[in-house]
Symmetry: C2
């Protein structure tokens, strides 16, 4: 499993959102301090792993006390860049695209999907969850105008590469790819593949034992 430029292992990065969820709940439930053991128990991890992960976010705990919850939440959010606002366009207003346009959990993670795009002209001009749907032909123009750097790709596999090319040509720097197709993009564009069939595979194998 790869590492990114900050030298933080990808598995650690993927656990950080879990920590945030647990910490926010612990903050409401109890007090100011939390130990690695408590966090670990809630997530089914080992305390050692939690301490190792925390070390990456540059937060320091206090022997005997643990970590200051509020500070920890703040640090993790800064580390992930979730304290800043990032704007995105979504292409492909099908079932999944519609769900993502309406998902209210992104606000907390610094992500705002400004608008949707679709090649089906019947959808163009409509508003879904309060967000306007534009024609794909206007993607380039609107990316430039709004300085958007992130594209959410929720089109069917057969259209995915074509739309990815449009995203790249328009200056998009990161693509959140829900299309279950492996994309060809220049090295300077970051792609995060999201594919639930991987999860279904693990579940299928588990159930068939």
């Amino acid at each position: 499993m790869g590492r990114n430029d900050r030298g933080v292992p990808v598995p650690t990065v993927k656990r950080l959102p879990l920590y945030l969820t647990v910490l926010q709940k612990l903050q409401a439930e109890q007090g100011v301090w939390v130990s690695a053991t408590t966090i670990a128990r809630r997530l089914g991890l080992t305390p050692i792993q939690v301490r190792k992960d925390m070390a990456y976010t540059d937060i320091v705990g206090l022997p005997k006390k643990g970590y200051p919850i509020e500070e920890l939440i703040r640090q993790i959010r800064i580390f992930l860049g979730w304290n800043r606002c990032r704007e995105a366009f979504l292409v492909g207003v099908g079932a999944l695209g519609t769900a993502l346009l309406g998902y209210d959990g992104f606000a907390d993670k610094g992500l705002t999907i400004l608008a949707g795009f679709d090649s089906n002209e019947e959808k163009v001009g409509r508003h879904i969850h309060g967000k306007e749907i534009f024609s794909v032909s206007r993607f380039h123009e609107l990316v430039q105008r709004c300085s958007v750097s992130l594209g959410v790709l929720t089109v069917p596999p057969h259209a995915a590469q074509e739309i990815a090319d449009i995203m790249v040509d328009s200056g998009i720097r990161g693509i959140w790819n829900f299309s279950s197709l492996k994309l060809n993009v220049p090295q300077n564009v970051i792609v995060q593949d999201e594919d639930i069939s991987a999860g279904l595979a693990v579940l299928s194998i588990g159930l068939s034992q």
Copy 2:
């Protein structure tokens, strides 16, 4: 990263669906045989890794020729249990639940979501993507009657544990958990967590370099 009882590494299991996608396309494009190198190039993997993964599915290739595509597809599907039909109930007919009820990619993976459940009585009795929505209070009864073993959990985090308990009590053996809450379940119940905030974290870190 853990291993399952068949001794196949989880990362390998997660790659199998990717191989299926590529193989189906290769089958349409060209011929009968495919080499590990060709598969690898399409997915950005190394040929060695592809061969290693293939070995787990008990398929054998032929030196000089490669693997027989059709046979490979068949074997992988059998290995994943996707050749058989598995039936599921979905609880939580919000934006994401609705999208999953309408997703037509599951048929190919042996999964059929028979019906939806919701605690909001206004949704009960309606049909979404041709599937009836029942009250959660009838979950237990219908699981028994239809011998369903898989539950898809798409409720908000605050309701997730409660619904998971209902699923477990009803005899569900596997939970596909989209709630972004860590669930407490007995050891004999398998949980597969699906959480896009992990992916967003990786993307966020990548973009902030």
